[in-house]
């Protein structure tokens, strides 16, 4: 890493940087650092990819068959299953 002190100092702000919720000064400071630090660029890219992989994987998660029916039965509303809900 080009400047370890900078890398360490900015580490806790990278998540907020990805979410676009940092003050503009800090955001600009991170962008300047990333332009000259390939290691931190990899950390940011893989951090963003980590978040997007979990997002994609969870969108494809399905609820196992039977869970809905058993829930309605337990709540004693199974007479209302599939009645135009």
């Amino acid at each position: 890493m080009k400047d370890h002190q900078d890398c360490h100092h900015l580490l806790g702000s990278l998540s907020g940087f990805l979410d676009g919720e940092l003050e503009s000064d800090l955001c600009a400071q991170i962008e300047r650092h990333l332009a000259e630090c390939p290691d931190c660029t990899i950390v940011v890219d893989t951090l963003q990819k980590t978040v997007s992989l979990y997002h994609t994987a969870s969108e494809e998660d399905t609820v196992p068959e039977g869970v809905r029916q058993r829930l309605f039965r337990r709540l004693e509303i199974d007479d209302l299953l599939d009645k135009g809900l």
Binding site: K49, S58, E59, D61, V67, R70, I77
Partner: protein, 202 residues
């Protein structure tokens, strides 16, 4: 991913009065999101189903006390989160409470894995084996980091909504989310680095 369906599609008055049809419609709208939260928190389908059922039993019982200040989905998340945390406490009593400060061992993880694995093909990044690693990495997070990551990055709640569900400050949510993401990145980097090495050997 949308975090919350509008509460106003349901009649709070009917729900508070115990209207079964309205309650059934609410269960239909929200059961999948509560199940997904539960499975990510406890990792086991049977336990997740128990939490799902308990959440709606409690919701039915306490809907009369719901004041409508938060959205219905935020309120349901709060009920479900409490159920999941109670379950985990019973299972592992030594776990810390969500509202206690994060212990010092949960600081930022210094990145050790500096490998750019973003170039791996999508089918490799999300293979069934990779998905097991994604789930295992979440399970290894402490409860207080896991719940924040699940609500924010999996369920898609905003920082404010997550703070409301967990009764934490927005700053605490951001700090925990940062730590959770960095830890997960580190664990996944270890796994995907091996896939990169394997790819080069083929």
């Amino acid at each position: 991913m949308s975090s919350s369906k509008p509460s106003e599609i349901f009649s709070l008055e009917a729900l508070r009065n115990g209207d079964r049809a309205e309650f059934a419609a609410m269960v239909e709208a929200y059961y999948a999101m509560i199940y997904r939260l539960s499975i990510k928190m406890v990792g086991n389908p049977q336990d997740a189903e128990d939490i799902l059922q308990e959440t709606f039993i409690k919701a039915y019982r306490y809907l009369k006390d719901f004041d409508g200040r938060s959205s219905l989905s935020t309120w349901l998340y709060r009920v479900a989160t409490n159920e999941a945390l109670m379950f985990l406490r019973r299972k592992r009593p030594e776990q810390i409470s969500i509202d206690e400060p994060v212990e010092t061992g949960e600081g930022e993880v210094e990145p050790v894995q500096i490998v750019d694995w973003c170039c791996l093909p999508e089918q490799e990044l999300l293979s069934s084996e990779a998905r097991l690693h994604l789930d295992r990495a979440i399970e290894e997070l402490s409860t207080s980091l896991r719940i924040v990551f699940v609500l924010r990055d999996i369920q898609g709640l905003s920082t404010l909504e997550t703070a409301e569900v967990l009764n934490l400050s927005e700053t605490a949510v951001k700090t925990r989310l940062s730590r959770a993401r960095l830890r997960l990145r580190e664990v996944l980097s270890g796994y995907y680095n091996e896939r990169l090495v394997e790819g080069k050997q083929v």
